[in-house]
């Protein structure tokens, strides 16, 4: 459904952030993109949704295809109309708009007002808690509610592919579980394809079908989610488990660090 062919992204004509990222998101699946801070995960998402231009970035090589057509030179609003929606890192609600207005703003590309109203109700069935606080200025919602609102807002454009940037950031574990449960339901019930960017690798791998690992602007590892979960390097560097699979104990921390196998 979505394919990135070795894209290279340069900011300000000089800073090379992505050095050949390839990615394939098949229809109806959850694909996760893992990586540490500064690996280029958010940049990858912005390259897809066409927002690089607003940050003076540019896709200089490679191509991005969505359902067979190239989208890497198109305006963000065209890309939304094609059925791609992005949920930003850090929630980024429209603070001074209430929850309902946030949802309506998310449906900006939908001209059919009756459909928009139905969609608001549909989103509220997934996030009943938002229904209770629908006319509160979104800046005053709790962190979890804001994240739900951000996802709901993303759904309002009726996307075929939803991209989420660290939806677990700064949330209590129970809320994170709830939100990830909803993501799974969206895949199963609404057949929304999901591209999930996460730092919380074990969580992301637990609901994803496939995963990619991004490091220093390159894809260093890819595979089925369950296989990645078993990979020794992933366990060591992203899941915090020792080689035996048990939780790491600080008593026998080694004085040297394991060398990432993909670096050799």
């Amino acid at each position: 459904m979505l394919t990135l062919n070795n894209i290279e992204v340069i900011y300000d004509n000089i800073i090379l952030v992505l050095k050949g990222v390839y990615l394939h998101v098949p229809e109806g699946r959850i694909v996760t993109l893992l990586g540490s801070n500064g690996a280029g995960k958010s940049t990858t998402l912005k390259a897809i949704s066409g927002l690089l231009k607003s940050e003076r970035g540019e896709v200089t090589r490679g191509s991005i295809e969505f359902q067979g057509s190239r989208i890497d030179r198109r305006d963000p609003s065209d890309i939304v109309k094609l059925g791609l929606a992005q949920v930003f890192e850090g929630r980024r609600g429209f603070e001074h708009l209430n929850a309902r207005e946030n949802l309506i703003a998310g449906a900006h590309t939908n001209r059919d007002w009756r459909q928009v109203r139905d969609d608001v109700d549909r989103v509220l069935t997934y996030f009943p808690r938002l229904g209770e606080r629908i006319s509160v200025q979104s800046g005053y919602l709790s962190g979890g509610e804001q994240q739900m609102l951000a996802i709901g807002r993303g759904l309002m454009s009726r996307p075929k592919l939803l991209m989420l940037d660290e939806p677990s950031l700064g949330l209590a574990p129970m809320l994170v579980e709830e939100i990830f449960g909803i993501l799974k339901r969206l895949r199963d019930e609404e057949s929304v394809t999901i591209l999930l960017v996460e730092q919380n690798a074990s969580l992301a791998l637990s609901i994803a079908d496939e995963g990619y690992v991004l490091e220093n602007g390159k894809i260093v590892l890819q595979g089925r989610a369950d296989e990645l979960g078993e990979n020794a390097d992933i366990k060591e560097f992203y899941l915090g488990l020792s080689e035996a699979g048990a939780r790491k104990s600080f008593r026998d921390v080694k004085h040297y660090r394991r060398r990432k196998r993909w670096l050799s």
Binding site: S49, L51, S54, E55, D75, P76, S77, V80, K81, A85, Q86, F88, R92, G93, F94, E95, H96, L97, E101, N102, I104, A105, G106, H108, T109, W113, Q137, G139, Y140, G143, R153, S157
Partner: protein, 293 residues
């Protein structure tokens, strides 16, 4: 009785302050920029409508409609030629651009329409209305009605319509708005076009009261305490603050001037503004910055 009359007349003049202040608020709401050329917009609108009526002998309705079209075009043109290229640049750069724009509009208006002062003639009797013993200026009454209509329309647009929601969304977060498929440039254009139209209401009635020449642009400065008092991004704030300032000015002129020998009318709005800012730094109705701790 004298007291009530002062208050009523103050409110009527205040409604005209409000509508000019609304122009500032519109631009600030959409793009967080103070448009220092708003007074020049009013002046330009005055020139345009005076030109249609005096030089081409159009009747007032046709002239107003044509002026409306011109002001929409001016608004769009300004956005397209100047502001669009400054999206994402430091606010100071944008403010300087609007100051430059002010000079440009003054020059262009004089080049196109000449330098002599003219008055926008209105087909309204200037014989005052008497309500009991109260004496009211007929033209100011009509002006207040138009200002009220302007506020109702703009208020509805911002609060209820989808486009208003989109505009407010842009004010909160441009990048996310882009990702929602909102065309930020188009909406800035819309905001500037509306600001142009709003300036027309001011231009017609101020142009009638004090004549159209480059002095008319000073209304922008005159209205500035209103904008700050009400809160830079509040429509209702512009309305209320305009009325308050009109009221205070009128009362000051009536009661304080005889005591000190004049001049308090121009002073009081600023004193009031400073007082309010001490207690409410966002103005009476300004949006607070929401911070989560």
């Amino acid at each position: 009785m004298y007291y009530v009359e002062l208050m009523l007349n103050g409110l009527l003049v205040g409604s005209l302050y409000s509508i000019v202040a609304l122009g500032f608020v519109l631009i600030y709401k959409a793009s967080e920029v103070i448009n220092f050329a708003q007074g020049e917009f009013v002046m330009f609108a005055g020139y345009v409508i005076a030109f249609w009526i005096l030089s081409l002998d159009f009747n007032i309705v046709v002239a107003a409609f044509l002026a409306l079209v011109v002001m929409v075009l001016v608004g769009l043109l300004v956005e397209w030629a100047v502001l669009r290229h400054l999206i994402g640049r430091p606010v100071v750069a944008v403010i300087m651009a609007t100051i430059g724009l002010a000079s440009f509009l003054q020059g262009t208006a004089q080049l196109l329409f000449g330098v002599e002062t003219r008055t926008v003639p209105l087909p309204i009797d200037d014989y005052p209305i008497f309500i009991g013993d109260l004496l009211l200026n007929r033209i100011e009454l009509v002006a207040a009605v138009f200002a009220g209509l302007g506020f109702a329309a703009v208020g509805w647009f911002f609060v209820k319509s989808r486009y208003g929601i989109a505009l407010r969304a842009i004010a909160d977060d441009q990048q996310v708005s882009l990702a929602m498929g909102i065309n930020v440039k188009t909406f800035f254009g819309i905001a500037w076009a509306i600001a142009g139209v709003v300036a027309l209401v001011g231009g017609v009635f101020w142009g009638n009261a004090s004549g159209v020449d480059t002095q008319l642009a000073l209304i922008g400065l005159k209205v500035f305490p209103v904008v700050i008092l009400g809160g830079l991004d509040s429509i209702i704030g512009a309305l209320v603050a305009g009325l308050i300032i009109g009221l205070v000015e009128s009362l000051a002129a009536g009661f304080l001037d005889p005591l000190v020998g004049g001049g308090t009318k121009d002073l009081t709005p600023y004193v009031l503004m400073i007082l309010v800012l001490m207690f409410k730094p966002y103005g009476l109705f300004g949006e607070k910055i929401i911070e989560r701790v």
